[in-house]
C-alpha cells in the first residue's frame, strides 16, 4: 500500500469518527516513521487502526472496513 492510500483511509476514518488522531498498528505504521518506504515492502491492503481519543468510536470504522463499499471501491480498507 502506498502512503497516499493509507492517508486516504485515515481521512475517511477521521470523517466517520470525528477523531483527529489515530494509532496505526502493524506494517502500515512504517509509513509514519519512514515516509519513503518502498510500496513493495508493505504487501497488505489493510490499515489496522484505533481512534486515539475516542476508542469506542473505533467500531464505527466498519463503514470503511473489510467487505465494505469503501473496500469494494478502492481495494483497501481499515480494520480495528
Amino acid at each position: 500500500m502506498r502512503k497516499q492510500q493509507v492517508d486516504h483511509v485515515l481521512r475517511a476514518a477521521g470523517r466517520i469518527t470525528g477523531e483527529k488522531q489515530f494509532i496505526i498498528i502493524g506494517s502500515q505504521s512504517l509509513h509514519g516513521k519512514y515516509p519513503d518506504v518502498a510500496d513493495q515492502v508493505l504487501k497488505s491492503v489493510e490499515v489496522d487502526l484505533i481512534a486515539g481519543n475516542k476508542a469506542a468510536r473505533t467500531e464505527w470504522l466498519n463503514a470503511i472496513g473489510y467487505m465494505s463499499q469503501f473496500h469494494e471501491t478502492f481495494g483497501y480498507y481499515g480494520i480495528r
Partner: protein
Amino acid sequence: MKVTLRRIGNSLGVLLPKTTLDGWGLGEGDALELSERGLRPAPRAGFLHQELDEIRRRVALAIVAQFKPSQIRAQILANLHRWKRQGVWVSAFDEWRAIANGGDDGELFAAMLGRDENAVRLRQSAPYAGLLSRDEVRKLNEEAAG
C-alpha cells in the same frame, strides 16, 4: 452471583466485587455496557488477529454459500481489474488473479476457507468485496463483536 441494589445519591446502584472486576480486566473509569441481557464489559476497541481472520472466514463462508464459483471468480476479476487501473496492487492480487483464472474450484475454496497460513494471508487481501449486501456484512461484524 446476586448483588444488591443500593441507594447511591438519587439513584440505585450495585457494588461489583473486586474479583469480578479483575476477571473482566476492568478498573475505575472503565466502561460497562448495560443491555436487556444484563451488565457486562464494553466491547473492546478492536479484534485480535485470530478473531479478524475468523470474521474473514465467516464472510467467505457466507459468499460460498450464496454464490457459484463462476460468480465469485467474475467478481474477483472485476475488482482486480478496477483496482489495478486505480493504482492499487499488492502481490497477493497476482495470486488471486491466478486462482480466479485457473478454473480450479478446490483452489478457490482453499484460499477462501482454508485455515493454513497461506489462506489466512490471502484472505487479508480478499478481492471478492461487493458480493454480500451491506446488511449481511454488518450482521457478521455484529456477531463477531458479540
